[in-house]
């Protein structure tokens, strides 16, 4: 008979907890993921790939790539600027600024879309002016990009701020003392210090940008082949009872999610195994 340490649970408790964990995660996480792929392949590989021959699907993929291609870089620039000012300097209203950066995460996606309809929509603030100049934001690509930029705004900044606060300003001060310019300091000292956190933020930002549904749905107008992103196209195919095609397109997004999770785990592992690796001397950049 082996003695159980006083700070461990009896074996039956451990087994029970483990079984509950497995069953709960199977019912809520694993089955949905598996279902996406089995439903997509229900009628064979041919039917699966036929789903992508639809021009509407192709244009949805293009629009999603375009949207993420704008939203992610823009929010990277914002994240870097916000983190630099918040982490390296003291100023009044700093905690208010960091709270406001998190705001889009607290807002319902539908409300995120609605606020742009109220500004740029036909009877919104700028509606009459836009109409007079034959510009369209809502029910058009700019609205989709704007809504996506809004919902993905916090992701890079909130990864960078705590890390850069922790790292302090000594590295940058040394570089400046040694004669580096501000830009040189940023590129060769700060950026190498934060590269993993930056990549982490970019990956989360991209996943949300490509997958956003609610906010984009409100501003898109669902014009087939024009203002549908991939998630909106999934909804349209599903509502037309075209299940194989809907799940085939959805499987693209599920693969993106899996890649995101894998990249996230890898970066977490890198960040914990090599905490805040200093700028490598002789780094070719």
């Amino acid at each position: 008979m082996s003695l159980r340490p006083a700070t461990a649970e009896p074996r039956w408790v451990r087994t029970l907890l483990l079984a509950i964990t497995m069953l709960f995660l199977a019912a809520f996480l694993v089955t949905p993921l598996v279902a996406v792929f089995t439903e997509a392949l229900r009628k064979g590989v041919g039917a699966y790939f036929a789903g992508f021959n639809d021009p509407a699907v192709r244009s949805a993929i293009k629009l999603t790539l375009l949207t993420a291609g704008i939203a992610v870089p823009v929010n990277v620039v914002f994240g870097l600027a916000a983190a630099w000012s918040v982490a390296k300097f003291e100023f009044p209203g700093k905690s208010l600024l960091t709270t406001l950066i998190d705001l889009p995460l607290a807002v319902s996606p539908v409300v995120s879309g609605l606020i742009y309809v109220l500004v740029f929509g036909l009877n919104g603030w700028l509606g009459p002016w836009l109409k007079a100049h034959h510009l369209q934001v809502i029910f058009a690509v700019p609205g989709i990009v704007l809504a996506t930029v809004f919902v993905t705004l916090p992701f890079v900044a909130r990864e960078l701020i705590p890390l850069m606060q922790e790292q302090g300003t000594e590295d940058e001060e040394s570089a400046l003392t040694l004669g580096a310019s501000g830009w040189q300091t940023f590129w060769r000292v700060t950026l190498p210090n934060i590269r993993w956190a930056l990549l982490y933020g970019v990956i989360l930002c991209n996943a949300r940008a490509m997958g956003e549904f609610g906010a984009v749905s409100v501003v898109s107008g669902h014009i087939r082949g024009k203002t549908n992103t991939v998630p909106l196209q999934v909804e349209i195919l599903y509502n037309e009872y075209n299940f194989v095609a809907a799940f085939a397109v959805a499987s693209l997004l599920a693969m993106l999610a899996l890649v995101t999770l894998a990249a996230k785990s890898f970066i977490e592992w890198r960040m914990t195994s090599a905490p805040a690796s200093p700028a490598v001397p002789g780094d070719p950049t």
Binding site: A6, L25, S108, P109, V110, I115, S217, L261
Partner: protein
């Protein structure tokens, strides 16, 4: 931990970066949100009140709150068990399961929505097992609860994990050596230490569930007054060009979101951690 820093930093770029961040944040987020509040002011208090007390709106809010609360509670219970096993036990596939916890963050909500609907439909993998029990999940409030539980799970697990990891083993050893049984140690030593994190996770899951749209609309069936959630009602009213109605409900949701944000900030200060990975 915050160290006092010199008031005048030698680093360049303060004005440029802060200026850019503030202008960008204002243009993208703050000014459009002001548009919502100004539009709501146009309704007047009476107009706002009569909109949000319409039976259909009340039913939608009741469902949104109720389902979000039940979902967050389920997550508090099961998320705790999941976090506990992931932190305390070593078993095959632990790292894989740990990575999978973030799936609801990473999987686009529309995909989660159609996948959950397929599984819990009467001919689906899990729905089939529920039919003999007389339980209908799809197109009922239960479906809404299922979707909101799915979406909230990572919030509870990810806030609890670091709290459980930070628990010092010697405190438990001390309790045990002073004669406490394992259940007593859990109830009087471990549980009180993680209550702030558990509440934070609950609040985060609840806040997210209140506004959730994509994963719910497929499984709920969207019957007005029965399975229609508040965010969906906003969309419906927008489609009917009822901007006043949509604005009123949106303001209500937004005010509640702000309140939840304050509660969460307070809870996080209490539990001593501000940063939540991966939300």
């Amino acid at each position: 931990m915050r160290l006092p820093r010199r008031q005048h930093s030698v680093l360049p770029g303060f004005g440029l970066t802060l200026g850019f961040a503030v202008v960008y944040l204002s243009l993208v987020a703050l000014i459009p949100m002001c548009a919502l509040f100004l539009r709501a002011r146009g309704l007047g208090w009476a107009g706002f009140w009569s909109t949000v007390t319409e039976p259909r709106v009340l039913a939608a809010c009741r469902l949104s709150f109720g389902a979000a609360f039940i979902g967050a509670t389920l997550n508090a219970v099961f998320g705790f068990i999941v976090a506990w096993t992931l932190v305390r036990y070593r078993f095959f596939g632990r790292r894989f399961i740990d990575a999978l916890i973030d799936l609801p963050f990473a999987l686009p909500t529309a995909v989660s929505g159609i996948a959950l609907t397929t599984i819990y439909a009467p001919n689906g993998w899990i729905g089939r097992a529920l039919v003999p029990l007389g339980i209908k999940a799809v197109f009922t409030p239960l479906g809404v609860v299922i979707a909101l539980t799915f979406i909230g799970l990572p919030f509870v697990v990810r806030t609890l994990q670091p709290a459980l990891e930070d628990l010092e083993a010697d405190v438990e050893e001390a309790a045990a050596s002073l004669g406490a049984s394992r259940p007593q140690t859990f109830r009087r030593v471990i549980f009180p230490a993680i209550v702030p994190s558990l509440l934070t996770g609950f609040a985060l899951a609840f806040a997210r569930a209140l506004g959730e749209y994509g994963s719910v609309v497929f499984i709920s069936g969207n019957l007005p007054g029965k399975t229609e959630i508040a965010p969906l009602l906003i969309v419906t009213q927008l489609e009917q060009y009822d901007y006043a109605g949509a604005t009123a409900i949106a303001v209500l949701l937004l005010v509640i979101s702000f309140a939840m944000l304050l509660v969460i900030n307070a809870l996080q200060r209490w539990s001593g951690r501000r940063h939540l990975r991966g939300m």
